[in-house]
Point group: C2
Chain length 164, copies 2
DNA sequence: TATATATATTACATATATGTACTATCTAGG
DNA sequence: CCTAGATAGTACATATATGTAATATATATA
């Protein structure tokens, strides 16, 4: 049985008490929250043996997914969905671990270029099999059609949120 | 244009570099993360004038959605999707603000009952119109059929995650 | 050139979240 | 009863995230 049932029941009572309460959007927001927490926790547990956490993993993978393994700090913040103040702290840690390096930018001397080191690439390639296994386990027996539909609907929902 | 495009492009490059990388589950997980951050930030901004933040709001609403406005700490943690260590801190703050009260439980003296005060209920009913407006804005022009389908697919996804 | 405005990054204070260990209480089996 | 093991809640240390302000550089315009 899903952990979500109690939450859903409480939203139903809320609707009784306050009939204007829009049940469906509220359920979606709650589901997103539950799913996010679970995904986040699972990823952290899987990554711990490799000495990094979920946000650090996200940064590494955004660099790994870029030609040249390099991004400016602001680009990295946008790509990973982190606030820029967070990027400084996280990239400091990754530098200390020797996984990325900071380089001054020639084109615009305000900018800092963050680039994966050889050790960074090697670490990523060492944990990728575990990451793939986790992602496949998380998708479980969702059918490709369902996955595609879920992706489409989530994109539409995100577009709504950003429309404001 | 969506903020998600750069992320999606980087996942595509990752798939080129590591063909076993399961693109679709990865996209879903990223979308969830982006949506969650946005929802969380919007809710915090809306709630600030009322002197509470998103997690505190969640706790208050779980109590509001329960007969008798009361739950034990563990029930509240499950309903709100918070770790139990967090519940102590958050409920301390809500007690300090006079919005909830702690009561010893007769049935099991290990348990603590958390119950909304009259001020707590009054605060909830004062911000509910703003909450409803925000939720409706977030759902935007999603059709009821799409919303229902998204709910169904998210529930299936959550069930997968919890199946392990 | 000089000045105003915008952008990129960071430092630091503060806010928020989690893990671990501890206390008190309960339950079950001898 | 009594003890062993389970459960509820919390305190405290630590980890993680954010807001604000400060610094340096770039760009536009008079």
């Amino acid at each position: 049985m899903s952990s979500f049932l109690p939450t859903e029941q409480r939203l139903a009572i809320t609707c009784q008490r306050h009939p204007a309460f829009p049940r469906d959007p509220a359920v979606l927001v709650r589901l997103i929250k539950h799913i996010y927490k679970r995904v986040h926790d699972d990823a952290n547990a899987m990554l711990r043996p490799y000495g990094i956490n979920h946000p650090e993993y996200n940064l590494l993978m955004m660099l790994y997914g870029t030609e040249g393994y390099a991004l400016h700090a602001t680009e990295l913040a946008d790509a990973a969905g982190e606030k820029s103040a967070n990027i400084t702290r996280l990239t400091n840690e990754l530098c200390d671990k020797g996984l990325i390096a900071r380089e001054a930018s020639d084109e615009d001397r305000r900018k800092v270029t963050l680039v994966l080191t050889a050790e960074g690439v090697a670490l990523i390639e060492s944990f990728l099999p575990d990451v793939c296994a986790l992602l496949e386990r998380q998708a479980g027996d969702m059918q490709p059609r369902e996955t595609a539909q879920l992706e489409r609907l989530l994109k539409k929902f995100l577009a709504q949120l950003e429309r404001e």
